[in-house]
């Protein structure tokens, strides 16, 4: 028993006593067809279990209505949330999602070739970048590329990110205002734009205000690496009294190590601040103070932008930055001033205007 043939438009046409074109039009919204014919076709299609073949359709229309999506680091709860929102957003606009997972920390190039073979209408790369050659190749082919939570050195690739730079600065100010002087920074992936920008913001503010640079370790945005980094950091004689972790996922790792291996209490012995405001970080056990990257707004911006780029491939590159807040919870010592309630949350809004806006 070979894979049974699907019913085709021609089969339906025969049964309904119309031409194949009529069947096609019956399934094309806005096409010129009499209501009566449309109904007759619909009935015949129902009888045969007919569904238009998206592959054949894409071949003629030269639009696949598929969007290639790359995602990695799904251990970080931020990304499953993003994936879910993205799926709904694209679905709502009539797009399908071809998902692939690049090797963490590397370019998405290899798997991308397979995805490009599907003539996707656009590419969304979450927490991933692509080589500039491939970026050029996509541009030459007229395929919009959108980086999510990353930016590219190649300025021609659009992106949607959170406020990495401002977040980093604000966290520096928050911790210093809270009275901390022995700061630590736990970097994510070294050559990722997010980690770089957060660090630049953090260290930039410190330097501008005459503070020593923080102790530094690398956690690669991974739980186990972050745990190891925490051990190194906390075992030092000049152990920091506050650590800014490149994201919430690493912050939870640090919290676990600090409490269960070093017997530290948070925030009494150690203040922690994360980035993302997502997942377990919000649970009472962690109650993480964190700069937020609001998933829904970021995904909304992504979907809107990618649709726009599909409509108008010649549109200029855009770098959308979605506003976040420093959400104050219990994992870091709280400054006496600057905390305001906002939408049932406490956020940090220092009164003094930052000189180096």
């Amino acid at each position: 028993m070979s894979p049974k043939r699907h019913a085709t438009a021609t089969d339906v046409a025969r049964l309904a006593g119309v031409s194949q074109s009529a069947v096609s039009r019956a399934f094309t919204p806005g096409a010129s067809i009499a209501e009566e014919t449309r109904l007759r076709v619909a009935e015949a299609a129902r009888q045969l279990g007919y569904r238009p073949n998206a592959i054949a359709r894409s071949l003629t229309t030269r639009r696949s209505r598929i969007i290639g999506v790359a995602a990695s680091y799904l251990q970080n709860h931020f990304y499953p949330d993003v994936l879910e929102a993205l799926s709904r957003g694209l679905q709502a606009r009539g797009y399908q999602m071809l998902l692939f997972m690049p090797d963490a920390g590397r370019h998405a190039d290899p798997q991308l070739q397979e995805v490009l073979a599907w003539r996707v209408d656009a590419l969304i790369l979450a927490s991933t970048t692509l080589s500039s050659e491939l970026a050029d190749q996509c541009q030459a082919a007229g395929i919009p590329v959108l980086l999510f939570n990353r930016t590219s050195r190649a300025p021609s690739v659009s992106s949607v990110t959170g406020e990495n730079l401002r977040g980093g600065r604000l966290i520096a100010e928050f911790l210093v205002t809270g009275g901390h002087r022995r700061l630590g920074f736990l970097a994510g992936i070294e050559n990722s734009s997010t980690s770089r920008d957060r660090e630049r913001g953090f260290c930039g503010w410190l330097e501008e205000h005459g503070h020593r640079p923080p102790l530094r370790e690398v956690g690669l945005y991974r739980f186990d690496e972050a745990s190891a980094a925490a051990r190194r950091l906390l075992a030092r004689p000049d152990r920091p009294d506050a650590i800014f972790c490149g994201n919430d996922h690493m912050a939870t790792a640090v919290a676990e190590v600090a409490r269960h291996e070093f017997g530290l209490r948070i925030p009494r012995d150690l203040s922690l601040v994360g980035f993302d405001d997502t997942g377990p970080a919000r649970w009472p056990s962690f109650s993480l103070t964190s700069f937020s990257q609001p998933v829904q707004p970021m995904v909304d911006a992504t979907v809107a932008l990618v649709c726009e780029m599909i409509e108008n491939p010649a549109a200029p590159t855009r770098h959308e930055v979605v506003r976040g807040e420093l959400v104050v919870r219990g994992s870091a010592r709280m400054p006496t001033e600057g905390c305001v309630s906002l939408a049932e949350q406490l956020v940090w809004r220092p009164a003094v205007v930052d000189a180096a806006g």
Copy 2:
């Protein structure tokens, strides 16, 4: 500037001075073509940036090499892990993954239609079911369907699951052996096969051994619902001293509520056991005793089975059950006997053979 035309096989053929067929053969492994010709074609293809069009290829071969994957409940860390493993597994076998997210707790039917339009080679539904009509429809169309972590009432749909029934029984025995008598059960989604089977195993063992049925609440496999259920359960005068949670995700919710709202200590005041052995449940803060559903073996079985079903669509339905272990950590009072070390883990292996195997 309209979306630029991709180079086609004909373009490459012209440049290389061969026929379009030769180009096709150059990109078809095993096709009859002289090495020299293949190289000339490859060079021409490189110059033009040519990639075979997967859409056109699928139209002629009648195989898309795309597998539709449904996933929901991504808040439960189990599923992102599964998704990642699945992506790599399918990729390795040359399949792409068309991902969609059905509305939680409902049939996957609506979005499924769109996916079927792509003539996917198979469907994998994780934590989802489909209506029996649609199951029939897929069978009629010769599309293999595989349920992951669910079974269907319709016996004709294959599945890969963990040992839900045995796990439930073992957990009952574990808790009773540990001295617990006031048991609670936190159900997942009422009409999901996993929750039903785990409960059947749990309650079945209790009944067979003359114990009262557990107190029961429903958490719908969701964090907030599980939290609410935990509040109801723990506020009772006859509060349980041990709760079997339908999965780890809900168990963490219960742990949070128990500790931070009721001031209970785990496992001194309350024992918790989960299911899945995944994600935050393994962190020291939760250190959850849990029946494991090993992701990699489950995904391996899934990939193997789905490929087999594609090769041979007439193959009989199969229900693969992947073995798990009751991994013993710190969230539940430990029986004095029955714990053995296995691969650097403590697992519960009661000596007495279960009569009702």
